[in-house]
């Protein structure tokens, strides 16, 4: 398994698109500087700034779409070029294949959020919006780590769709639909969609200002929702890949 995961990283050599995805981590922090600069606010609450730079559009739209496209990319190329056939002949089990792809999603997700955290700190402290305080930074990094891990699990259905589907258009389109569904369902019902359930877990301490929620946060329900979606996704992948036998 470790060998498989190691080779997954090796396969990304010279892929400029991955670097472009990672650079998107700087988008919202940079826009936050513009936003708060435009508002003319000299001092901003750290949580307020981080909500814009890391906990807002980055968490609900940008990163889910990036993870979905990345998942589609790493799977589709191997299917299109018939490389996956050679992987089966090693042999590599279906579960291992799925898990190794998930590890890539997890690493990108956590790495992206860590980079977002670094960018948020730089964009908040250097222009002087937020004073440099270690506890604020720890809060930001902890929250970003949480988002990175949870979002990777929340995006597993899209990875499954990329594996069982035959092209790239459907998973790519479904990524956008899936991400937007999470964004719009958040104030409606937090426990039907993995992304909204991720949100329910994030807001359990009520420390992210300005998030519109109509339900109490229940971590148990949220975990169950994500778990059910992920189990179904895994089952679908296992069934589809086993059909070739």
């Amino acid at each position: 398994m470790l060998r498989l995961i190691e080779t997954e990283f090796y396969k990304l050599r010279r892929k400029k698109s991955v670097w472009m995805m990672v650079l998107a981590a700087f988008l919202m922090p940079a826009l936050s500087v513009c936003y708060f600069g435009y508002l003319g606010q000299a001092e901003v609450e750290p949580a307020q700034f981080y909500k814009w730079s890391a906990f807002g559009y980055t968490t609900w739209i940008i990163l889910p779409v990036i993870l979905g496209i990345f998942a589609t990319m790493i799977v589709y190329e191997e299917k299109r070029l018939q490389i996956v056939r050679q992987i089966w002949l090693v042999p590599v089990k279906e579960e291992s294949y799925f898990f190794s792809k998930f590890c890539m999603i997890l690493v990108l997700s956590v790495g992206f959020m860590m980079l977002t955290a670094v960018a948020s700190v730089l964009c908040s402290v250097l222009p002087g919006f937020v004073p440099f305080r270690l506890e604020d930074m720890m809060y930001l990094f902890e929250k970003c780590m949480e988002i990175g891990i949870l979002l990777a699990f929340a995006m597993l259905p899209i990875l499954a769709l990329a594996i069982v589907g035959s092209g790239y258009v459907m998973p790519a389109c479904m990524t956008v639909v899936y991400a937007l569904a999470g964004f719009f369902l958040m104030p409606v019902n937090m426990y039907v969609h993995p992304i909204t359930s991720m949100g329910a877990i994030l807001i359990r301490k009520k420390d992210i200002p300005g998030l519109l929620v109509t339900q109490e946060s229940c971590v148990g329900k949220a975990v169950l929702c994500i778990f059910v979606w992920d189990i179904i996704s895994f089952g679908l992948v296992k069934y589809q890949l086993s059909k070739r036998k």
């Binding site: 060998r3 050599r13 056939r85 002949l89």
Partner: protein, 242 residues
């Protein structure tokens, strides 16, 4: 009777109403080079995919090394090297890097294994050329290098001469004969180039419209002073293929 490395019994594959492989009884003996001949669309590639478990059979049985593949992939696959259709590799990696991935997946010493495999097929080690820029012949060579990377006992090669220049074809021929004669490897090779199979194979099987019409020992064929092309035409009732 020699041991059979590959044995199929009434192996059939249907896609909807179309039967692409019809009740094939294939027997490949240990240490021989078996040439599977047929026109495009005869069912050679589908047959090979079923032998490798890459596509499920509609009916019939497949045994490789005397065992059914299903459920025993971990034991059987490491003994098989295969190249089916156009070999696929990562276009953003060099040939060496691509092979290193598969060597790593197989738990082999990367440098030594990859260097040896590339040397056999005549590709440079640590070349900077990306696979995406390879010519057809180079891609084919890399596919074969990947197939022999782990020193398998059985090679299943689907039209390995495709895209090779005449010198490459001659080298490939010599290499396959060496593997069989000196190392005792069993090779199942499909082709539509009759002349090349004639020079390499110990036995040939002729497929047409999904059926394995005939199997013949090449020594017997040559004793009868019949060319492979004539034999092919007689069996298929056609005009030959190459």
């Amino acid at each position: 009777m020699k041991e059979f490395v590959i044995e199929t019994r009434k192996l059939t594959k249907c896609y909807g109403e179309q039967t692409v492989v019809k009740e094939v009884d294939l027997h490949v003996r240990k240490g021989e080079i078996y040439g599977l001949l047929g026109r495009n669309g005869a069912g050679k590639t589908t047959l090979m995919k079923m032998l490798l478990g890459l596509t499920p059979e509609t009916s019939g049985e497949v045994e490789v090394f005397g065992r059914k593949l299903r459920g025993q992939e971990k034991q059987i696959y490491p003994q098989i090297g295969a190249m089916i259709e156009a070999p696929g590799f990562y276009p953003n990696l060099t040939g060496t890097e691509n092979l290193e991935i598969f060597a790593r997946l197989r738990g082999m010493k990367r440098e030594q294994t990859v260097k040896r495999a590339l040397a056999v097929v005549g590709l440079p080690y640590r070349d900077k050329k990306l696979f995406g820029n390879y010519s057809l012949g180079m891609k084919q060579r890399l596919g074969i290098a990947n197939a022999i990377l782990h020193d398998p006992k059985l090679l299943i090669l689907d039209e390995p001469m495709n895209g090779l220049d005449p010198i490459g074809i001659a080298e490939m021929r010599g290499f396959l004969v060496k593997l069989s004669r000196e190392q005792g490897k069993t090779i199942l090779i499909s082709s539509h180039i009759l002349s090349e199979i004639e020079l390499v194979a110990d036995r040939v099987g002729i497929m047409d419209h999904g059926a394995l019409l005939a199997q013949k020992n090449m020594k017997e064929l040559k004793k009868g002073e019949e060319t492979l092309e004539t034999y092919f035409r007689n069996v298929t009732g056609g005009v030959g293929i190459a």
